[in-house]
Each structure stands twice: as structure tokens, then as C-alpha cells.
Amino acid sequence: MTTAASLRLDLGTLHLDIDLTVEAGEVVALLGPNGAGKTTVLRALAGLQPIDAGRLTIDDQVVDDPAAGRFVPAEQRPVGVVFQDYLLFPHLTVLENVAFGPRSRGIPRAEARSQAQRWLDRVGIADLAGQRPGKISGGQAQRTALARALATEPRLLLLDEPLAALDAGTRASVRRDLRRHLIEYDGATVLVTHDALDALALADRIVILEAGSVTQTGTLAEVTTRPRSSYVADLIGMNLLRGRSTGTVIDLDDHPGQLITAEGFDGPVLALIHPNAVSLHRIEPEGSARNRWHERITGFDLLGDRVRVRLDGEVPLVAEVTPAAVAEMALAEGDTLWATVKATEVTAYPS
């Protein structure tokens, strides 16, 4: 059973044009910057936003096909949604929230309530059944929202930033539990997130969505070892440069600098450099490093016990050094210095 979306939607400022398929039992993460259209894709799949062109099928059933004049409204789609801020009905108890779906689908009250109770047991908040949403924590609200979405036994589960509203402490444990529930769930899941860690923990496959278009798909390993956009490179903290390769020399597209790689080929390429492969020098170094550029410091970011130095000049780069190195070399914003990278540290692949 396959859920497929071929979806075109014009929202004035955003033009969405994507193709997406999710198999039953699979979790696909839609990863992208704010405003890329991720939530709109979810709304279209849920039936809250009709598409302009294309075709949506859920479990091989057509639910939206403008050309054929077919549109199945939200309440008739086999879809469960966990919304970003959970949106638990404030006037209903936790149990009534979860029983709402079964009740709306025609199951008698008593049966709906006992089903809801079983779902609360499964997500581990059975003791909160009688509480109002206002009285429970963020993690508990997330579990309630998940139970409410799953209680209708949907064939497609949509999660919109399911962990974004949680603080760092609860986030890890809720993420672990969510992962367990997603493994048990036999339908298709589409997860919207802008957090690579959530995608890593929860998804089988990643779809990168930028400005309404899919820029890359694959497993997390595939996407991160061969990023195709600066968004993904930033997400995993790598330097990504675009240029044209002739032998082992790459001429950069938007910058004067050149890059030397170990393995050469011809044509348009992307070059990946880990920030800790970049060395900084006050005076022009003489050594084996084939890449040597004159750079200016534009800023610093603290990342754990490392400092990321943002550089601009012949080649825009981020270098990762220790705080001790920053102090010893007395690095400051606006300083000019030399950056070197060994040719073997540059990973180049066709763009």
C-alpha cells in the first residue's frame, strides 16, 4: 500500500511543486527551512487545503485530483494529524480528546471511551484521563495528541514539528517514545521538522524541501554525505562550495578562489569540506596543504567545546578550532589571515 502525493499549489508567495511517495510502515521526514512549504504539504495531505494540480492518493485511494474533479474532505480521509502545538481541545478532558475521533466516526460513547483509555495506556498517560489539557505538561500533551491522532486508526499519520514545542529535557524521552510508536505503527508517516536530530531519530528517509521544491531525497546518511544545497550543509555544519571542475582544479561559481582536490574530473561539482579540516595561520604557511587562501574573519560561533570561525575572502569558509587556539592567536573579527586545507580533505562530487 502506497501513499503518494504529486502536488502543485500556488499560494501567491510560495509555489509548491513536489512529488512524494511513502510506503506503509515507512517514516518520511520533510526537512526544510521555515517557509519552505512543509506544513502546507501536510495540510494538503490532511484535506485542509485543496491542491491546484496533481494527484494525492492515500493507501492507493485517490483523495484529491483536481483534473478529475475529485476531492475527499478532511473528515473522510483516513488521516491522523499531530499538530505543531498539539491543539488539544481545552474544554474536553484528556480522555475525551482521544475519544473525539472514534466518537466522530460513529462509535458509541462507551466503546469510544474504552478505546481512548487503551490508547492512553499505550502512550503511558492512563492516569491523566480525567485531566484538562491546561493542567498537563508539554510532554504529556504531545502523548495525548499522538494518542488522539492514532485512535482513529489512520492509514497516514502526519506529524507537524511534533517535538518543537518541548524543552530540551523532555524532548529526548518524548522522541524515544515517539520512535517506538512509529515503529509499531503500520501505516505511512510523514513527519515535518526543521530539526535534523528529529529526522535522524525518527525517519527512514528524508526529503529536503526548499522554497516549495524537493532539493534532495534519500536516507540521512546519503543526504549528509552528499549534501546538494547550502541548507543541508548548514544543517550538518559542513562547508559546501559550488563550482566547475577541470582535472583536480575547481573554479568556484561565485568567488574568485580555486580549490584543489585529490581526485579530478571535469564538469560542475559540489565540494564538501569539514570545518575541522581547515587550518588557520597568521603568516602565509609553507607546507603540504595544496589549498591556501587569504581570508578575513567575519564572526565566531561557539559550538560545544569548539569555536567556529566564519571566514570570507577568496573562498567563504567556516573553520573549527579550539577556544585555546582563538586565545593564543588572538583572533578577532576583521582580522585577515591564511586558511589551508589539504586536497585530500576536499570531497568533490558532480552537482
Binding site: A46, G47, L48, P73, A74, E75, Q76, R77, V79, G80, V81, F83, L87, F89, P90, H91, F100, G101, S104, R105, R148, A149, T152
Partner: protein
């Protein structure tokens, strides 16, 4: 950094005090004027009781009609986009600012036996609204309905409609969404709107006397009885005024969370 508190602007405070007195003095006068010893007797005269009972029946009927017809109208105004919506809103809110007596004249033009609608009501069904209790209810509904619509429409607009989206994804039909999500979430505003409409209906004078007349037991509601009693039996008029004042105070207190700031 601390700073000496500035002296309050005396002239402004003085004018404000005069204004407060302007509101307070009539109430004090009413209390002083009341003959408390005969209050119960004044209120239990036949004409008082008749007017009280009629007022209650008419105002509650008008409130029920306001809720019944106002709720769908408020929903349409808040949720549907259609050409001419601002015009419709203006039309609905007009009775808020229209002099009630003009409302009464307009109602006559439409629903009297020679009115554009009333003519047919009489010819075809034998229904006459003028000079009947039904006419009094109609006049009160005309002035009360906008209060309900404006309150509920505002609540529908400020409500987070994503809750309705959630309900739809859970399989709820439009009607179920309204009944189990929308209505409970705007519940307090529906109650507030109904209370406002009721208070307005209870106090209605101009439209009622113009359209429905002043017939004891049929269309003579409390405000009309007060006006008439002022000539013949001022004590009764004051006593009935106190009843209406008490109702107004209850309304203000019951809506205090909306209107009175809590310090």
C-alpha cells in the same frame, strides 16, 4: 532610578469627578425617592404584576429568537466570504444606533396590516402583529438581536479555527465540529450575548410602543408601564424602575469579567 511621583492633573480629575457624579446622582435620587415601606405592595398591584409578567415573557422570547436566528447569522458573517458582507453587517448593526422609535415606524411600514409584508401575512394567514404580544416580541427582537450577533461574531473571529481543522481531521462532520468544538469554545460569549440581548429587550420602549402599542396585558411591558404610572402613581413607577435597575446591576455583575477590569 527613583523619581518623585508627579502631581495628578487636578483639572482633569475634577472633571472626571463631576462626570461620575452625573452618573451617580440619578441613582441616588431614585433610591431617595423610593417609598421603601410600600415597595412590595407597589410591585404586587395587578397592573405591576401584569407588566412584570409580560415583560418577562416578551424579553425571554426575544432572547430565544435572537439566539436562534443570531447564531447562524453570526457564523455566516464570521466565517463565509461573500460580496456585500460589509453591507450585511452594517444592516444588522443598524438597530444599535437607530433611534428605537424610528425602528418602530420602520417595523410598522413592513409588518403592519398595510405594511409590505404584514399585508400578505394578514390576507393569506390572518396574522396581525401590530397591537399584539407577538408584535412586542418582534419589536424587542429587532433591537436586541444586534447585541447578540456582534458579541458572538467577535468570539467566532477571535477563536483559533485550527481547532476546527483538528476536529475535521478526526472525522467530525461540519455539524459535529460546530456542536462539539466551536460552540463550547465560544460558549461564554454566547451566554454574554444572550444576557446583553435580554437586557436590551427588557428595557425596550420606543419600538415597542410605536409598533405594538400600549395595551395592558398584551403589549404594555415594564418600561411602558413605568412611563404611564409616572402620571397616575409615581410610587409604583419608581418601584418598577428599581426592579429594572436591579436587573441591570445583575447583568453588569454577571458580565464583569468582560467589561470590568479586575485589579
Amino acid at each position: 532610578m527613583t523619581r518623585a511621583r508627579r502631581r495628578p492633573p487636578l483639572l482633569v480629575v475634577a472633571v472626571a469627578a463631576v462626570t461620575v457624579a452625573f452618573f451617580a446622582l440619578p441613582l441616588i435620587g431614585l433610591f431617595k425617592r423610593a417609598s421603601w415601606a410600600t415597595l412590595v405592595d407597589d410591585l404586587t398591584t395587578t397592573e405591576s404584576l401584569t407588566a412584570l409578567r409580560l415583560s418577562l415573557v416578551c424579553s425571554l422570547s426575544a432572547t430565544a429568537l435572537s439566539v436562534l436566528f443570531g447564531l447562524p447569522l453570526a457564523w455566516v458573517l464570521a466565517r463565509l466570504r461573500f460580496p456585500g458582507r460589509p453591507l450585511v453587517r452594517a444592516l444588522v448593526l443598524l438597530p444599535l444606533v437607530l433611534p428605537p422609535v424610528v425602528g418602530g415606524v420602520a417595523l410598522l411600514a413592513a409588518f403592519s396590516r398595510r405594511g409590505i409584508v404584514g399585508e400578505h401575512l394578514y390576507d393569506w394567514f390572518g396574522i396581525q402583529l401590530t397591537f399584539t404580544t407577538a408584535g412586542a416580541v418582534l419589536a424587542e427582537t429587532f433591537v436586541a438581536l444586534p447585541f447578540f450577533v456582534i458579541t458572538v461574531e467577535a468570539a467566532l473571529r477571535s477563536m483559533n479555527t485550527r481547532y476546527e481543522d483538528v476536529a475535521a481531521t478526526l472525522g467530525a462532520s461540519r455539524w459535529t465540529v460546530f456542536r462539539r468544538v466551536t460552540l463550547p469554545m465560544i460558549g461564554p460569549s454566547v451566554v454574554a450575548g444572550a444576557v446583553l440581548a435580554w437586557a436590551r429587550a427588557l428595557g425596550e420602549f420606543g419600538a415597542t410602543i410605536t409598533f405594538a402599542g400600549n395595551i395592558i396585558g398584551k403589549t404594555q411591558t415594564l418600561p411602558l408601564a413605568v412611563y404611564l404610572a409616572l402620571e397616575s402613581n409615581p410610587d409604583v413607577a419608581v418601584a418598577m424602575s428599581l426592579v429594572l435597575l436591579a436587573v441591570s446591576l445583575v447583568v453588569i455583575v454577571s458580565l464583569r469579567d468582560r467589561w470590568l477590569e479586575r485589579s
